[in-house]
């Protein structure tokens, strides 16, 4: 929980256009999820 919130706060401040913690959290989730699609491909 601690590391996840640290990551959310970091992305919230680092990425332009993110106005809230929710969007930051979804950006983190989507970047991890999209990585699995882009790395492995669609089967």
């Amino acid at each position: 929980m601690r590391l996840a919130l640290q990551e959310i706060i970091e992305i919230y401040h680092r990425e332009n256009g993110i106005e809230d913690y929710r969007t930051a959290a979804y950006v983190i989730a989507l970047s991890k999820l999209s990585r699995t699609y882009l790395d492995v491909g669609v089967y």
Partner: protein, 426 residues
């Protein structure tokens, strides 16, 4: 099929999709990849008969699998009359994002049975739950490798034990049968600390928030958690444990507790555990220790406070009341308590929100530990404990030999203690 009352236009699933879309735009993510991520992989709807008091009753349930990029897909099963396919799909999507955010290697899933558990006896609930579990298992929606449910609204340890036992009888040759569901009683393959895990997660998240001075300041706070005024909605498993830990261990003041039939308010702080016992004894928070009660629970959300913790239903903060919210911070313990429209309004008002997909992840984190424990067939700490204790004792002897002084009792106690499962999980 949908029985959801859409209070302000968007359904829960649309709300989640909109919030995800906002992130997609900012990231410049390929829309095709975004669509692949957002889509729900499969949904099962089952309708089955159970004989209740001499009559055949029909029950309908769902299990949605949102993602299978990691297996098993994970997520609770709820027993409620608010359940429908749309809700289950939205909740399954949230599970995918939640697991990704806290790095738990699971896909997202969610299940629900349309039922009011209060209408049935324990024995009837057992037959209904076992039959539902059988439907899920036979269709591949209950399996330790691919789809592992957990407790949610209207379900708990008892239901999980029935589900695990049903799966075991259907698949006695599956050596990992006990891992087909998490949130089981400790005596039946559960893990210590699972029941309170989501509430504990809320506490850890808020503690961590208050370790970041810039965030604390921009949310309009001063100092740490101690003395902060908190309003909590829902004294169920999550709300109760969050409020209990925060008030007992972080000196937070729980100034109001909102339940389905009203709100109790005490500016000096409510004794959470006593209120919980009162609710369990009488079925209501009303009449607790002379604390003023009002039947207008929704107004409780609008009380002047520091932190508002909605820990009950979806869409409780919506277009109609978002403008009246006076908290500085909303900690979403429930799934989807703030609608998309309300989220925009609160954002404009400068109210910070710690989102559901992160806030209530404590449950799935400890479910992950339980699943691992079940697969390894050994309790955490069982092998290492004696060794850790012996090593601690060596350190004590070494310190004494080198300093020619006895090690104080309290230091010795801490050093020679080997961690048990509860220490490791917490």
């Amino acid at each position: 099929m949908s029985n959801h009352t859409e209070r302000d236009g968007l359904s829960f699933r649309q709300s989640v999709d909109h919030m995800v879309d906002r992130a997609v735009q900012i990231m410049n993510l390929d829309p095709a990849v975004a669509n692949a991520i957002k889509a729900c992989a499969s949904v099962l709807q089952v309708t089955f008969p159970v004989e209740i008091r001499g009559k055949i009753e029909m029950f309908t349930g769902w299990r949605a699998v949102h993602s299978i990029h990691r297996l098993p897909s994970k997520g609770g099963i709820r027993f409620a009359t608010s359940v429908d396919q749309m809700e289950v799909e939205a909740l399954a999507a949230l599970m995918t994002y939640k697991c990704a955010i806290v790095d738990v290697p699971f896909g997202g899933s969610k299940g629900g049975l349309f039922i009011n558990p209060n209408d049935y006896s324990r024995d009837e609930m057992q037959r209904i739950t076992r039959r539902f579990a059988r439907e899920l298992a036979e269709k591949g929606f209950l399996n330790p490798a691919t789809n592992v449910p957990a407790p949610d609204m209207g379900t708990g340890q008892r239901e999980m034990a029935w589900i695990a036992d049903t799966y075991k009888h259907l698949n006695p040759g599956d050596i990992n049968h006990i891992a087909c569901v998490t949130g089981k009683p400790v005596a039946h393959g559960g893990i210590r600390g699972r029941t309170e895990a989501t509430g504990r997660g809320i506490q850890y998240a808020l503690r961590e928030f208050f370790r970041h001075p810039d965030e604390v300041k921009s949310a309009g706070f001063k100092g740490d958690l101690a003395g902060k005024k908190v309003v909590i909605q829902g004294l169920g498993n999550v709300g109760y444990h969050a409020a209990k830990f925060l008030s007992e261990e972080d000196d937070v003041k729980i100034i109001a507790i909102i339940e389905h039939d009203g709100v109790i308010i005490n500016e000096d702080g409510i004794q959470v555990q006593q209120a919980y016992f009162h609710k369990n004894d009488t079925g209501s928070i009303k009449g607790f220790a002379g604390t003023p009660f009002s039947p207008d629970g929704a107004k409780g959300l609008e009380l002047e406070c520091d932190i508002l913790i909605p820990a009950a239903l979806e869409a409780v903060i919506h277009e109609g009341n978002a403008n009246n919210i006076k908290a500085k911070l909303i900690a979403e313990a429930a799934n989807g308590p703030v609608t998309f429209e309300a989220d925009r309004i609160l954002q404009k008002k400068g109210i910070a929100i710690l989102p559901d997909a992160f806030m209530n992840a404590g449950g799935v984190i400890v479910s992950y530990f339980e699943w691992i424990r079940n697969l390894t067939h050994i309790r955490f700490g069982r092998l290492e404990r004696r060794f850790d204790e012996a090593r601690g004792q060596h350190i004590v002897h070494a310190l004494e030999a080198m300093s020619n002084n006895p090690v104080p009792d309290w230091i010795q106690k801490e050093l020679v203690r080997g961690a048990d499962e509860f220490d490791l999980v917490r």
